[in-house]
């Protein structure tokens, strides 16, 4: 927990509180652990790295960011609302009949969402397509794809990795949310990915390990991308599922939670309010 407190800044707390408020005011459900895991990854991308225009979400020369682990969408919705892609009041429609923010993000419904994801193993191929398309245009626009570690069980991720490596897509950066927990248990017991960095290297990527909750470290690593001018980059972001609150931190019961109670909401908000 000391590690956690060292990295949690006001921005990280604010975004996590927005996630809890979303659940509180809407369907009382969601992949809370998965969302808390990617808060810093998303906030650094949207605060410091990506070029975009929330008033013109389909601006052609924008950078593309795909949350391929679509179940972490609560964090994406919090940041998109924060950036003005849509009004914050929309968050209370999460998974609700009259809302447009579903349990997984949809391209045609949500401004700022670049691809509909939810079924794992789709986002990287779409991202490779974005990067190849930018290359045809000789455009400097870049593509960022956030993968889950459990998602890397999917063969299609590695088909896409082969393709990205073959084309030396240096405009493509993957951020793997390596919290080492999937739905049933640890990644080591369900489907071990190690040696993970070596696998990416073997597929033609330049690889770096980074603390996925350390915004300074993330910012620094992302600003250095492409890590190799002739290769796609992958940042293996070492994270903790449910990071940010002692209640959810590393607790698989919060991977996907339904019927979240008033008491749990209060406890989560309290834990996130602590300095």
């Amino acid at each position: 927990m000391n590690v956690m407190k060292a990295h949690m800044n006001a921005r990280s707390r604010e975004l996590r509180r927005a996630i809890v408020e979303t659940i509180d005011k809407s369907s009382r459900r969601g992949h809370i652990g998965a969302a808390f895991s990617v808060v810093e990854i998303l906030s650094v991308l949207y605060d410091d790295i990506l070029r975009f225009d929330p008033k013109n979400p389909r601006w052609h020369e924008r950078d593309r960011c795909i949350l391929s682990k679509g179940h972490g969408c609560l964090a994406l919705y919090a940041i998109l609302a924060d950036k003005g892609f849509f009004d914050r009041s929309a968050l209370s429609g999460f998974c609700m009949p009259d809302g447009f923010l579903g349990g997984h993000p949809e391209y045609h419904k949500i401004p700022g969402v670049e691809a509909s994801t939810g079924s794992l193993g789709h986002g990287l191929s779409i991202g490779v397509g974005f990067a190849m398309s930018a290359r045809i245009d000789k455009s400097p626009r870049r593509t960022f794809v956030i993968l889950g570690d459990g998602e890397c069980n999917e063969g299609s991720v590695w088909e896409a990795a082969l393709s990205a490596g073959k084309h030396k897509l240096s405009s493509l950066t993957i951020l793997v949310d390596y919290n080492k927990q999937q739905s049933y248990g640890t990644t080591f017991e369900v489907q071990d990915l190690e040696p993970f960095a070596d696998k990416w290297r073997a597929f033609g990527f330049a690889v770096r390990d980074v603390d996925g909750h350390d915004t300074c470290a993330l910012r620094s690593a992302l600003k250095e991308c492409p890590l190799d001018p002739a290769k796609p980059s992958v940042l293996i972001c070492n994270t903790i599922k449910g990071y940010g609150s002692a209640i959810t931190c590393g607790n698989l019961a919060w991977h996907h939670k339904t019927k979240v109670t008033e008491d749990e909401i209060a406890a989560l908000m309290k834990s996130l309010g602590e300095e």
Binding site: H60, G121, S125, V128, F130, S133, A134, S163
Partner: protein, 313 residues
């Protein structure tokens, strides 16, 4: 038909910078001219259909019109979820050119027989399905695919299929249009509805039936989805028997689509109805496309017999 289809992709790419081509691991020299003249828009991405569909979706979301070609089974079954989500859910203009629709790859066995492609793709929102009868029709239809806003599946025949459509189009004064049925023969005893390369044996059967005193209408459906239900229903109001003929499993294809339309119409007179297609089992035999079709009764002789039986029922 495949050669014509791919050559049309090349011709369209020369004129339209949105067009890109993606193959899996096609035969050596495929679209050599495309690769040489427009290398930045030609891709051969290996035996990885799921990735190819996703990559094409990404390009299409970016404003391009990717044409993908590989064997029909692999471009439909192998990457089905990518087709559903990456293409149909996003409703992007990706074109799937499926080589060997039906039983073209007869000698290669069930792994290569695309006998369920129409059924599985017909269930998908936003998908257009076209199945030309010959190379001439392919040449007429390919340019029509360019500006369809959503995904399109283009079902290819074997190649060297008999050329039947051009003379019929001219004789009947018809022009090619996506989603439009082609009424190639008029008769009031039975309506035979078909698609793809089955048009030729159906036309031959209609001629043979005439010699037996049975007047058959023939309706060719180069577009299976969206299906021209208006034309089917117009004919169904005045023709008492309908026979569908397709190189596809009896479940879920053209025959099923026609059955759905006429059974829900409500105001039709009583219609005698029969579907001819492949039975609900994996083909047990090898041989040639023609021999498998004949084995399962998808030849002129059996179409005539079935039509007679239906009319005289």
């Amino acid at each position: 038909m495949r050669k014509t289809s791919l050559n049309m992709v090349y011709e369209m790419a020369k004129k339209d910078p949105r067009v890109v081509f993606i193959g899996s691991d096609l035969g050596i020299g495929t679209l050599k001219n495309f690769k040489e003249e427009m290398p930045d828009r030609f891709f051969m991405e290996g035996v990885s259909e799921a990735n190819i569909i996703g990559v094409a979706a990404g390009m299409a979301l970016d404003g391009r019109v990717p044409y993908i070609n590989t064997i029909a089974t692999f471009i439909t079954r192998r990457c089905f979820e990518q087709v559903v989500l990456d293409l149909c859910l996003h409703n992007v203009p990706v074109r799937l050119i499926g080589s060997g629709g039906g039983v073209v790859y007869a000698p290669l066995g069930p792994t290569h027989l695309a006998t369920d492609d129409i059924a599985i793709l017909r269930a998908l929102p936003n998908m257009t399905i076209i199945a030309p009868a010959d190379a001439d029709e392919m040449k007429r239809m390919m340019p029509l695919t360019l500006d369809i806003p959503g995904p399109v599946y283009i079902r290819l025949g074997k190649g060297g299929d008999p050329l039947v459509t051009t003379s019929l189009m001219e004789k009947c004064g018809l022009t090619a249009k996506t989603g439009k049925a082609l009424h190639f023969r008029t008769g009031n005893d039975i309506l035979i509805i078909t698609t793809g390369i089955m048009l030729k044996p159906v036309m031959d059967a209609a001629k043979a039936l005439e010699a037996s005193g049975i007047q058959a209408s023939v309706l060719h459906m180069p577009t299976i989805k969206p299906l021209d239900s208006k034309t089917i229903l117009e004919l169904a109001t005045r023709i008492p028997a309908i026979l569908t003929v397709e190189e596809h499993t009896i479940i879920g294809g053209l025959g099923s689509a026609v059955a759905e339309i006429i059974s829900e119409a409500g105001n039709l007179p009583k219609i005698k109805f029969k579907r001819l297609g492949l039975p609900d089992r994996f083909p047990e035999v090898y041989g040639s496309q023609a021999s498998i079709l004949a084995h399962y009764g998808l030849d002129t002789k059996n179409i005539v017999l079935t039509a007679k039986g239906l009319v005289q029922k």
